[in-house]
């Protein structure tokens, strides 16, 4: 039989026991609970960077514009396409004497023999004699040219545009085949001097006289653009259908300038 005192003592002892057990258990598992929490200052000082929020970054204060790409080279202002001459021609070209070299005469002969000049009846089919300048003056290599005499031809704006179109139309397929060597090559414009014979073939090798649009990043491609020009006129030649009477007039197509660019 347990007495009331014993029960009370047992209860107190049990609680005290439990308290002791708890104290010892906690003490064993984590002594740090008895210590003050770790001072945050120590963590920061030993580890330089704790997270994304940190000391002011050492960032360049250069304005953004100053970091423009070196590749953004200024593009040369594109030369405006040559205007067909808007001015009315005020003075007609003097009739040009025809002291042509033999080569021209020889080449003109097949043209003349090919041209079906309607009822013109120009009977100059001599096979080696001097060309009949008077009869040829104003004569074109176009069929159905029935005029026997013309006033001296002049290169009007419209005529220039037509000739340019005719040339472009014929060389475009060859131009389109030219392969771009690399990025930026399409900015290069080759300025070319062409000299043609009356039959539209090249009278002299294609002459590259200059370039536009060249910068540090595309300079390495200039030679290939030049190669392309030469390839174009080697492949798409001769140029046909150009008006004979505008061959060797002022601004005629005997010698002219061509600006070429790879397709951008």
């Amino acid at each position: 039989m347990i007495s009331r005192g014993e029960v009370a003592g047992l209860a107190v002892a049990g609680i005290g026991h439990a308290a002791l057990f708890a104290l010892l258990a906690i003490g064993f598992l984590s002594e740090s609970n008895n210590r003050p929490p770790p001072p945050p200052a120590m963590e920061v000082s030993l580890v330089d960077k704790v997270g994304l929020e940190q000391m002011a970054p050492v960032v360049s204060t250069e304005p953004e514009a100053a970091k423009k790409s070196e590749l953004d080279a200024p593009i040369e202002p594109e030369p405006a396409p040559p205007e067909p001459d808007p001015k009315p021609v005020t003075k007609p070209d003097p009739p040009k004497p025809q002291p042509k070299p033999d080569a021209n005469a020889a080449e003109r002969k097949p043209e003349r023999s090919n041209s079906r000049a309607g009822g013109s009846g120009s009977g100059n089919r001599s096979s080696g004699g001097l060309p009949d300048y008077a009869a040829e003056f104003g004569r074109g290599n176009r069929p159905n040219d029935s005029r026997s005499t013309n006033p001296p031809a002049t290169m009007t704006g419209e005529a220039a545009a037509n000739i340019a179109s005719a040339i472009i139309r014929q060389v475009q397929p060859c131009a389109n085949r030219q392969v771009s060597p690399g990025p930026g090559a399409e900015r290069i414009q080759a300025v070319v001097r062409l000299q043609l014979n009356r039959d539209g073939s090249l009278a002299a090798p294609v002459q590259i006289v200059g370039h536009n649009g060249v910068d540090d990043s595309n300079e390495r491609y200039v030679r290939r653009v030049d190669d392309a020009v030469k390839a174009i006129f080697a492949s798409c030649s001769p140029l046909r259908g150009l008006p004979a009477e505008l061959y060797d007039v002022t601004r005629g197509w005997k010698t002219f300038r061509l600006n070429y660019r790879l397709k951008g």
């Binding site: 005290g16 002791l20 010892l24 580890v47």
Partner: protein, 168 residues
């Protein structure tokens, strides 16, 4: 003052009284011995105190983890390192290496540096807990030695770690 004193005496007496009860006191595991006595875990294996195996069994973990691209220690990491520090303070002659690792979502060289930061973060924390830094070497493995092999967040989280390895 007198009341606390008598209260204390009463508590002491009651605690002493506890020894007189009929029920035996529960088995309270005490702190491990400092000398070389063998702890028998009942399974028959013996682990030398101060050994690597002892370390692994004694501490909360040998590994702490980090957030992506970070090397700060969160509360869990600190708790783990606290247990490591305790153990290391108990065995002052033991040396450790802390390996720092990264997940594969970082570039190779940066990860070598980040792994080094993580290893040093753990080392510095242990040093702050009183472990002599001369006992701790660090090495970074960058992303070269992942633990988990998949390319997903779960694996990457496991790989961002600093591992403490007993070396003597």
């Amino acid at each position: 003052m007198a009341r606390t004193k008598s209260g204390f005496l009463l508590a002491a007496a009651l605690i002493a009284l506890a020894g007189c009860t009929k029920t035996p006191p529960p088995d309270v595991p005490g702190p491990g011995p400092d000398n070389g006595t063998v702890v028998d875990n009942g399974g028959g294996d013996t682990i030398r105190p101060g050994s690597a195996e002892d370390f692994k069994r004694s501490v909360m973990s040998d590994t702490v983890h980090f957030a992506y691209d970070q090397y700060d220690l969160d509360a869990q990491a600190r708790a783990i390192l606290d247990t490591q520090a305790q153990w290391l303070l108990r065995y002052p002659s033991v040396r450790v290496t802390i390996e720092g690792h990264c997940d594969e979502r970082g570039t190779r060289e940066y990860n070598l540096a980040l792994g080094d930061r993580r290893a040093n973060a753990a080392k510095n924390y242990l040093a702050a807990r009183g472990v002599a830094p001369g006992r701790i070497t660090t090495i970074s493995y960058g992303k070269e030695r992942p633990l988990a092999l998949s390319s997903d967040e779960a694996s990457w989280a496991q790989n961002r770690r600093a591992v403490t390895i007993v070396i003597s």
